[in-house]
């Protein structure tokens, strides 16, 4: 009922391809993530789904309404938070919220229940101008503004970009609560670690190519090679040496370890260990690990 169905949507800006025949089906009440870097067409897709842009080809529906024909009805039923938190910098927190409420013909009081959990965090600052809020606070206010009319489907375009890790976790906790209220949520993010908070995700690449769609668990399981985390005392030389190693298929830095895949498996590990020792690395540990979303993304790129 409140799902989103996208069929073969393509969009170009001049010679630049933003989306390439994207098809997605997002169910009623699902929390769906579009994961991909800047330039993967996430914003374009949101604008098409919120009726702000017309696709070059393909069709899509939101809540069963056609994005081209049923423009007005869709606009009544969706909430949209664009990438740059679109608030009026010279209006206070409260003025922003009450303005957006009245735009949708409602009031803060009418829908206070829905936004309460979020709004109480910024309510102490309700007389402060939005322009004077920090990133995390602006983000919460923008979410309140997008929710104040009780939308059936919520579109959040990179709500956590530039927001610190703690605020990001809090933000996703809020999305969980909204999901439990039955709101369908489509959210995009460049942070791979946020993928696991979604019911399902689509991995998008530059030029709007969809790499895969699945549950985060499903995507992780599809990583079909053994993956190793390698650590040693000198991490950067280790990375270079691992890349030089003849048995290496790929090697990327992942925080405190390097994630390594090999051309052929098991027997090479012992060989690698002695190779690294020979090269003078100390405290070498090699450990078999499960792939994360980021591993899968890099692997598919």
């Amino acid at each position: 009922m409140n799902g989103v169905h996208i069929q073969n949507i393509s969009k170009k800006y001049g010679s630049v391809t933003a989306l390439q025949t994207i098809s997605l089906n997002i169910g009623d009440g699902e929390l769906f993530g579009l994961i991909g870097p800047d330039g993967a067409g996430k914003t374009t897709l949101f604008r098409i789904l919120t009726t702000l842009l017309l696709p070059d080809s393909g069709s899509a529906s939101v809540c069963g309404l056609d994005i081209i024909k049923d423009l007005k009805e869709i606009r009544m039923r969706v909430g949209y938070m664009p990438g740059r938190f679109s608030l009026y910098q010279d209006l206070t927190v409260e003025e922003n919220l009450s303005f957006f409420a009245s735009v949708f013909n409602t009031t803060i009081a009418d829908n206070y229940e829905l936004v309460r959990d979020i709004y109480v965090q910024i309510e102490p600052f309700k007389h402060r101008r939005a322009g004077k809020l920090s990133g995390g606070m602006k983000q919460k206010l923008a979410l309140c503004c997008a929710l104040i009319h009780r939308p059936d489907v919520l579109f959040l375009d990179e709500p956590t970009t530039g927001v610190d890790p703690v605020s990001r976790v809090e933000f996703w906790d809020m999305l969980d609560k909204l999901k439990r209220q039955g709101i369908t949520i489509l959210v995009s993010t460049p942070y791979m670690d946020e993928a696991s908070r979604c019911d399902r995700i689509a991995l998008l690449m530059r030029s709007g190519v969809c790499l895969s769609v699945d549950t985060p668990e499903g995507i992780r399981r599809s990583f079909n090679k053994p993956l190793y985390a390698v650590r040693a005392k000198n991490m950067y030389p280790l990375l270079e040496e691992l890349r030089n190693y003849e048995g290496t298929l790929s090697c990327y830095a992942f925080g405190d370890s390097h994630h390594l895949t090999l051309k052929s498996y098991k027997k090479d590990i012992i060989h690698l260990q002695s190779y690294l020792k020979e090269k003078g690395f100390t405290n070498v540990t090699i450990e078999s690990i499960e792939a994360g979303i980021e591993d899968c993304f890099i692997n598919e790129m």
Partner: protein
């Protein structure tokens, strides 16, 4: 309706909180009036004049020579009757006339439609001829046509009103709308049930109000500081101003539909609106003296019609029935521009 009300309230917040812009908007008419009233004068070079000599005295020729010798005047021709002078003034061929009566009275005539210029011409002529006048004992009387009290304010007050209204209604409205596009808030507004026409109306309302305040400021200043009486109906002047403001608002709206940045909106407002108002409305340069191509262009400058109508009502004291043509043209412009911009206003990005 509550939607609309709160939108207008928001617009007022934007304007009231931007103290600097607000101050400029309210002070501008005062500064312009003072600037035009006291500071700006016109320079005179090579002004053509005619002579009507009824005395048949050779000394008249010496007067002519004296004037010719200066860089300010050139003789256009000698004439034989007053009607001829009148005609030449009307055609804009001459700017001054010397009339010597059979009783050896010297009269200097100037066209005071542009009072600054007329006053300067007469001053210059008197200065040049002063030595002659004492020698020849002529009696001097000056006479100004059309604007006997010689108030330049008669000319520029309507002009300043035309300028201010365009500036505030068109420029500020277009910048205001484009700012929402730039900030990304337009995206959110579009994805809401708010009708685009409300967005536009709400943007325009506060500026309409501010410009009315400005018109009243200008009228008060011109009445009590420059002592220009408002001869005709004040309500008619205000009504005309509202109509003209609506034209300006629709122009601003049109500009906002074709630009994406505040800078571009500002620049286009300047080039397309401000400059024509200053140069082609008859405010500074008389339209009659322009090349025909510019005269035609001046017909599509709304300010021209507004200034004509306001002069007729304010200074000549004429009623609505005499300015029906101007009202009609302005109304037509408003309808056309509004229709065009509503059609162009994108409901998508």
């Amino acid at each position: 309706m509550r939607q609309f009300g709160s939108f207008i309230r928001k617009e007022f917040y934007h304007i009231l909180r931007d103290k600097r812009t607000m101050t400029i908007l309210l002070l501008m008419p005062i500064i312009l009036i003072i600037l035009f009233g006291y500071a700006i004068t016109t320079e005179i070079k090579q002004s053509p004049f005619v002579v009507l000599d009824n005395s048949f005295d050779t000394r008249t020729n010496q007067l002519i020579e004296q004037l010719q010798a200066s860089e300010y005047f050139t003789l256009y021709s000698k004439v034989s009757n007053v009607e001829e002078i009148e005609n030449l003034f009307r055609q804009g061929k001459i700017r001054m006339a010397l009339v010597v009566s059979p009783t050896n009275d010297l009269q200097i005539l100037a066209d005071a439609t542009d009072p600054n210029e007329a006053a300067a011409l007469i001053q210059y002529a008197q200065a040049i001829l002063s030595s002659q006048l004492s020698t020849f004992n002529f009696q001097l009387s000056t006479h100004l046509l059309y604007n006997p009290q010689m108030k330049s304010a008669y000319n520029f007050v309507p002009g300043v009103m035309g300028l201010i209204l365009i500036l505030i209604c068109a420029m500020m409205t277009s910048v205001g709308i484009v700012k929402e596009k730039e900030m990304g808030t337009m995206e959110v507004l579009l994805v809401s049930p708010m009708k685009p026409v409300y967005i536009v109306l709400a943007k325009a309302t506060p500026y309409l109000l501010i410009s009315l305040i400005n018109i009243i400021t200008i009228l008060l200043l011109s009445r009590f500081l420059l002592e220009v009486p408002i001869v005709g109906s004040i309500w008619l002047v205000l009504g005309l101003s509202v109509l003209y403001a609506l034209v300006a608002l629709s122009l601003g709206l049109l500009i906002s539909t074709i630009t994406d940045t505040q800078q571009a909106a500002m620049l286009i407002s300047w080039v397309v609106l401000m400059l024509p108002v200053m140069l082609l409305s008859g405010m500074i340069f008389p339209i009659e003296n322009m090349p025909w191509i510019l005269q035609i262009i001046s017909d599509i400058v709304p300010a021209k019609w507004y200034i004509i109508a306001v002069k007729d009502v304010m200074i000549k004291g004429l009623g609505a029935e005499t300015i029906l043509k101007e009202i009609g043209i302005l109304a037509l412009m408003f309808v056309t521009l509004t229709a065009l911009s509503v059609k162009r206003f994108k409901i998508r990005l």
